[in-house]
């Protein structure tokens, strides 16, 4: 287990319906999203399973906040 650190942007698991919405927004299937290993410390911390979608809220020094999405894959 890794304790949350301030330099790591917030990760959270999306519910199935939320994930569906995100896929519809970008009009691509899950496999076309960037990936994250289920062995990734943040994925482990959340208890994410392969197939889950993780939302990462990033704070960018130039332009405020934006959200990045990753699909959990088996590591």
């Amino acid at each position: 287990m890794v304790p949350p650190l301030e330099l790591i942007p917030e990760h959270s698991i999306l519910s199935e319906s939320e994930a569906k919405k995100v896929m519809a927004k970008f009009s691509i299937p899950a496999k076309k999203f960037p990936k994250i290993l289920d062995t990734d410390p943040q994925a482990k911390l959340l208890g994410a399973k392969p197939g889950n979608m993780i939302a990462i809220s990033r704070k960018d020094p130039s332009g405020g906040k934006y959200t990045y999405y990753r699909i959990v894959v088996k590591g």
């Binding site: 970008f26 691509i28 076309k32 999203f33 960037p34 130039s62 405020g64 934006y66 959200t67 999405y69």
Partner: protein, 784 residues
């Protein structure tokens, strides 16, 4: 049009020959199997043990994952090790475990001769041996018997490529010249026929063996005429024949020459030079190039008459070719023009010579940038160089010391409109890196604006007329002071009438009110690198206005600089006695301060800087003092030398050179550095044998007191050379490294694009970024 791709044939060989490129595989199989029972030289148990290893060696990635993960997956290196061990094991086996016969030593004499204990193995014997190896054993060896049987490595027939592969050319004399491959095939056929005749006639075995060997030689050189250990087959003119391998191999081979490096038509390349009367959007094209390059004109029902008129021309803007509806290209000459004019119909394409106003692409290598390839408007000019505006030199990274550039003529209408809408320099004034102008005024122009707009600049009516007329302005400023015009008012004539602009930096302030420069001198900060004024004009008055402004500025400022006679000579660097005294004083003071630090250190009174030892602190503080010397000299020079000195003028207005150059030329070079530190290597405890050991004084550690003007002392010269070599080396290393890094990044990202929703996608539509750059900003479009 000829569409037949040709058809392959074959030639049956009377006696089999070894395929030279597979001799090694044959050798391995001969060594690994028994010469009597043709089974692999391992017991059945050993084979079973080794099978999974072999599988991981040859199996597909998925197969490996399934099976070998359990058995502990092997890395590539481990796999190679295993196969080497296996081979060694097989070689060392003396007795066949199946039939018990003593094994004999197999030898390969390159390229194709096999011996078993000094008796020659003939290709037909080898072929028999190969055909008796079982499918099961082959699988263990990593050969898929359903795809390749090893006896196929011994040729009984030869594939003969069609003439399309080896065309014959008819010389002007009517003589036919055959391709090298054809010659080789003829040789093979001849020997093959002789062999057949001799065998039929029952010739003695020695003669047959000789011919057989000759056949083997011909086939070997047919595949590769540079096979090691084989004499090269030559033409009658002693030129080595180019056979199959030679066609593919090397820089001039099919792969590197024809596939990786494609040549393009409709392009030109020459030396570039500057032209101050062209806009940044234009390119001066030599008439000889314009006469050769063509642009397509598409004949339609609506322009047929017009196009026929152009095609009928017999002078410079002529039509060179006609491409019929069927795609046949016909050349228009004085003899054929009449005939061809009659067949022009809608759907034809006419190829017209390049004329003023056509769009062409200009490119300078290395193409690191989207701005390294831009679309220019053609202007036909006499001479043999391509000419561009000096300001467009920056994005290309070009100068005129012999640089060459490539020119391409976009052919399709799509390419032409893409060039016009996306690639014109006038639209690309703002840099995609930070949004600052990347096309701005430089060198003479910067000196020119300075001289034109400084506070005490006044010009007579005649001078003003020349400057203004040169820039294409045919009116005088409204205000006249004692029969003269102020430079500021002349400059203001180029500005938009409603421009309100203010720029502050430090003590200087520039104010433009209602298109009139009322305060301040226009500097490079406004119109040079980072140009705030250019940015403002581009954003508010558009690309065309900015382009015109840049051209007018070039014309006007060059005239000012020319009239002032801005040039430098050695006399600019000649020191007055006062300056020499100043220089002496600066050096002595620095040496004094360094001495103080050294004394403090010796007396153990030097307080060490946080994180450093006492000795490091001494070095650091000494270095700081020595670096400081240049700054002091810099300040002293700027104070004592006025801008009536042209070298100083150019440096202070940021046109060319900087004050450090001036300091090094007329005061002293200062501290030389190797790897960012004072030089330290060479002899033990010293750099040169002329110093005492552990001498830490400035001159023993690379502080150069002489100037370029006076010349360097031998010891100083050596120190300077050490510094120069260090910086030359690290510079070239850094450029090579960053160039390679950039190339890899470009290749990795080349087909990413920003979609309509501002997300970044790759060619398959997969998501790369949810919003471009994390903020969706385009620096090129950003406004204050």
């Amino acid at each position: 049009m000829k569409t037949c791709p040709g058809h392959f044939g074959y030639l049956e060989l009377v006696r089999p020959v070894i395929h030279p490129e597979f001799a090694k595989s044959v050798y391995l199989l001969l060594q690994s199997t028994c010469y009597q029972c043709h089974k692999a030289l391992l017991t059945t148990e050993q084979m079973n043990e080794i099978k999974p290893v072999i599988k991981s060696f040859v199996g597909s990635e998925e197969e490996i994952n399934e099976q070998t993960i359990a058995a502990g997956a092997l890395t590539t290196i481990e796999r190679e090790d295993t196969s080497m061990v296996l081979l060694k094991k097989l070689k060392s086996i003396k007795k066949c475990p199946h039939c018990g016969i003593q094994q004999r030593k197999i030898k390969l004499e390159r390229p194709t001769f096999f011996y078993m204990d000094s008796t020659r193995l003939r290709p037909d014997e080898i072929r028999d041996w190969m055909s008796k190896i079982s499918d099961d054993d082959l699988t263990s060896f990593g050969i898929d018997p359903t795809a390749t049987r090893p006896e196929w490595l011994i040729l009984t027939a030869l594939l003969v490529p069609p003439v399309n592969v080896r065309p014959s050319i008819t010389l002007e004399s009517g003589e036919r010249s055959e391709d090298d491959l054809t010659h080789k095939l003829v040789d093979i056929m001849r020997i093959n026929q002789r062999l057949e005749q001799d065998i039929d006639a029952g010739a003695p075995q020695i003669i047959i063996d000789d011919l057989w060997e000759l056949l083997q030689y011909q086939v070997t050189t047919y595949f590769n005429n540079e096979t090691p250990g084989v004499p090269v087959a030559r033409h009658r003119s002693t030129r080595p024949l180019k056979t199959l391998a030679q066609r593919l191999k090397g820089k001039e081979g099919r792969l590197r020459y024809n596939l990786s490096g494609k040549r393009v038509n409709f392009s030109a390349r020459t030396v570039i030079s500057a032209d101050a009367s062209l806009t940044i959007n234009q390119v001066g094209v030599p008439s000889r190039i314009a006469e050769t390059l063509t642009i397509p004109l598409y004949a339609t029902v609506w322009n047929l008459e017009e196009i026929k008129k152009i095609a009928a021309r017999t002078e410079y803007p002529m039509v060179l070719n006609l491409i019929t509806k069927e795609g046949i290209r016909k050349r228009l000459t004085d003899a054929t023009r009449e005939e061809i004019l009659k067949i022009i119909e809608p759907g034809c394409i006419l190829e017209r010579q390049l004329v003023d106003g056509d769009s062409v692409l200009m490119n300078r290598q290395p193409t690191l940038h989207r701005l390294s390839l831009m679309s220019h408007t053609v202007k036909i000019l006499p001479g043999k160089t391509m000419r561009i505006h000096v300001s467009v030199t920056v994005p290309y990274g070009a100068d005129f010391d012999g640089d060459e550039m490539n020119l391409h003529v976009p052919q399709s209408l799509e390419a032409q409109s893409e060039a016009r809408y996306l690639m014109q320099p006038k639209d690309l004034v703002r840099s995609p890196r930070d949004g600052k102008p990347i096309m701005f005024m430089e060198e003479d122009e910067v000196v020119g604006v300075h001289l034109l707009t400084k506070d005490d600049a006044y010009f007579t009516k005649e001078e003003a007329s020349l400057m203004l007329a040169n820039a294409g302005v045919y009116e005088f400023p409204k205000h006249e002071v004692k029969g003269k015009f102020s430079g500021k008012s002349i400059f203001s004539l180029l500005l938009p009438k409603d421009l309100e602009f203010e720029y502050k930096s430090g003590a200087s302030k520039i104010v433009i009110k209602k298109g009139e420069l009322v305060e301040g001198t226009v500097s490079s900060k406004l119109v040079g690198e980072g140009g705030a004024l250019i940015l403002r004009l581009f954003d508010e008055y558009g690309a065309d206005f900015t382009m015109e402004f840049l051209l007018q500025m070039t014309k006007m400022t060059l005239r000012v600089a020319e009239a002032a006679g801005v040039t430098i000579s050695v006399s600019d660097y000649y020191n007055s006695d006062a300056t020499n005294k100043e220089r002496q004083k600066i050096i002595e003071e620095v040496e004094g301060r360094v001495n103080d630090i050294t004394k403090k250190y010796a007396e153990n009174k030097l307080e060490s800087l946080p994180g450093y030892t006492k000795r490091e602190t001494l070095e650091l503080e000494t270095m700081a003092q020595l670096e400081e010397a240049r700054t002091i000299a810099n300040r002293a020079l700027s104070k004592s030398i006025g801008t009536d000195n042209n070298a100083m003028l150019m440096a202070s207005v940021k046109a060319r050179g900087n004050i450090l150059n001036y300091v090094q030329t007329s005061m002293f070079l200062g501290q030389q550095a190797v790897r960012g530190k004072r030089p330290s290597r060479g002899y033990s405890g010293r750099i040169l044998p002329y110093f005492t050991r552990n001498n830490k004084t400035p001159e023993a550690k690379g502080f150069v007191k002489s100037s370029f003007f006076d010349g360097l002392k031998p010891k100083e010269f050596f120190m300077h050379a050490m510094g120069s070599r260090d910086s030359a080396m690290s510079k070239s290393l850094v450029t090579a490294q960053s160039g390679y890094l950039q190339r890899r990044l470009i290749n990795a990202m080349q087909d990413f694009y920003t979609a309509e929703d501002l997300s970044v996608r790759d060619a398959s539509g997969a998501l790369i970024q949810t919003i471009y750059g994390g903020d969706g900003m385009d620096p090129t479009k950003e406004r204050e």
